[in-house]
Amino acid sequence: MHNAHRNKAVITLWLGILGFLGSNLLQAAEDSPPPLPVEEIGNVVRLPASYPEHWMMIDEASFFSMYGGKVIILDVLEKHPAKRIKGMVHKNLLGNFTQHPSKPEFYVLESFHERGWRGKKTDVFVVYDRETLKIQKEIVWPTHRMQTLPQRYTMAVTGDEKFIVAANFTPAASFSVVSVDGHELLSTIGTPGCVLTYPTGKRSVSSLCSNGGMLTTVLDRKGQVKAQHRIEPFFDSDDTPIFERPVIVDQQAYFPSFKGKMHHFDFSGEVAEYKGSWSLVSDEEAAANWRPSGLGLIDQDEQGLVYVIMQPDGAEGTQTHGGSQIWVFDVAKQQRLNVIDVPNWAITLGVTRGKEPKIVVTNGELVLDVLDAASGELIQTIADFGNVTPLMLHKSY
């Protein structure tokens, strides 16, 4: 009997507590904002058709795991680390990359084996939509594409913007032509002894040759070879080598040599025309072995100024190692305007578009330093953006 009384009292107490809590919960619910709405599933971000000037296309070669190569679209001025990446696309086995300057699309030429690293190899030309990053079309490539460390001119869009040209290397050299309208493979044209695809004139392609000369291939309106012209050697590929990585400013191409001579080509006509050379370095600087050096060692801004990575104490074998300074040139006047000390070495540089350009540098630790091009001041260092070996930097369009 005594226990029955006690149990009844406990039950009564609990009912009281629950009632109290329940009334408070109801009161809380009345005071709270409404619950979250049910969200739509399946949303995917869409990028602008024309990317902002301060976005860069980072060619991540993924040298230690080449199946993981990619292009990272990066806002280099974004301060919040988590918001810098805008998107990325795959670029397998040292794939090649170029962009259309006015149409909202870009191109990757990459390779796959049937079963990862083994089985039949297929090279594929891929057209990406710039807004959705979706594949618009794939073309199975007719031969072995050129597979190298990243370059700016393994692929290019012709001057009339109607054709994409892409270098092949079997090791016989050639390039293939794809139409921009319809994305059809049109032709493959041999370029014996000459490699890469520098856009020339409206519909020509120039290639650099082992004998120190140049070959210009003229295309007709259907993307077929119309004529080929060989330009006399202008350097010795053994003794006075040049970088195959020019900067092209208003169809004027500038190829730095290993020791600092700048070779000028006029690419505005149907056939490339050699215009001579001038020196990037003074006699004193040459004596101190100041030399151009790096991978993506040269780029330009939209005002036409040219930026070159320079290395002190350069020597045979150091030509791709990068440098401690960036020299800024007015190439039309053949005049150096500025010298920028980079904070942590420079292997590759790229310059953003616009009237207030920024220099983006892949530094000695393989992360990015963003510098103001006018003052040379460090704006920020960008790491941890899915990078391992960001070896080439492209403007975005």
Binding site: F63, F64, S65, M66, Y67, L93, L94, S111, H113, W117, R118, K121, H144, M146, Q147, T148, L149, F169, T170, P171, C194, V195, L196, L208, C209, S210, S237, D238, P241, I242, F243, E244, R245, G294, L295, E316, G317, T318, Q319, T320, H321, G322, W345, I347, G364, E365, L366, V367, A383, V388, T389, L391
Partner: protein, 172 residues
């Protein structure tokens, strides 16, 4: 960076004499290939030489400083289960390659070195070595280590690089 640091630690001995630490990092700047096929190499075959004495060489093939690596750019097969002239198991030696000319410090002779890549297995990822002496851009494919020279192999996947003596240089 951590990955690179580890690689650098493993290949540490080498770099100092030939390049700064930064330059090794930058040394990624090129990797792979060359151009002429072996039968076309402009060399005098060592096997044709009368060899009264045993040939001599010295050095540490696990070190980037090793004399044969003067024009190399890639992962050393010596660290990947193979050695300086033999590919690791499971790989295939490339039939296309690039060449360099390196001086053997022991006998003072210049030798033509064929940097055959080993192919068909994912990147070895250690003992990265970049020397690049007399390396040329891809317009001189026969002297260029920028190309993936596994292009003629059953699998084009690059694993590591060897350094094989294929003859005395012409100047000898």
């Amino acid at each position: 960076m951590k990955i690179l640091d580890k690689i650098l630690e493993k290949s540490a001995r080498n770099v100092a004499q030939h390049s700064s630490r930064r330059s090794l990092l930058t040394g990624l700047g090129t990797a792979l290939v060359g151009a002429a096929s072996i039968p076309l190499l402009p060399v005098a075959r060592a096997s044709d030489q009368q060899q009264a004495q045993k040939p001599d060489e010295s050095g540490d093939p696990t070190s980037c400083d090793y004399w044969r690596y003067c024009a190399i750019d890639g992962f050393l097969c010596e660290c990947c289960g193979g050695n300086y002239n033999t590919c690791p198991p499971g790989t295939e030696m490339s039939t296309l390659t690039w060449i360099g000319t390196c001086k053997n410090p022991t006998d003072g002779r210049n030798y033509v070195i064929s940097y055959n890549d080993c192919c068909g297995v994912t990147q070895c990822g250690t003992c990265l070595c970049q020397r690049d002496e007399r390396d040329r851009p891809i317009y001189r494919a026969d002297k260029s280590n920028d190309v993936n020279w596994c292009l003629g192999s059953e699998s084009t996947v690059y694993h590591c690089s060897t350094a094989i003596v294929v003859g005395l240089a012409f100047d000898n």
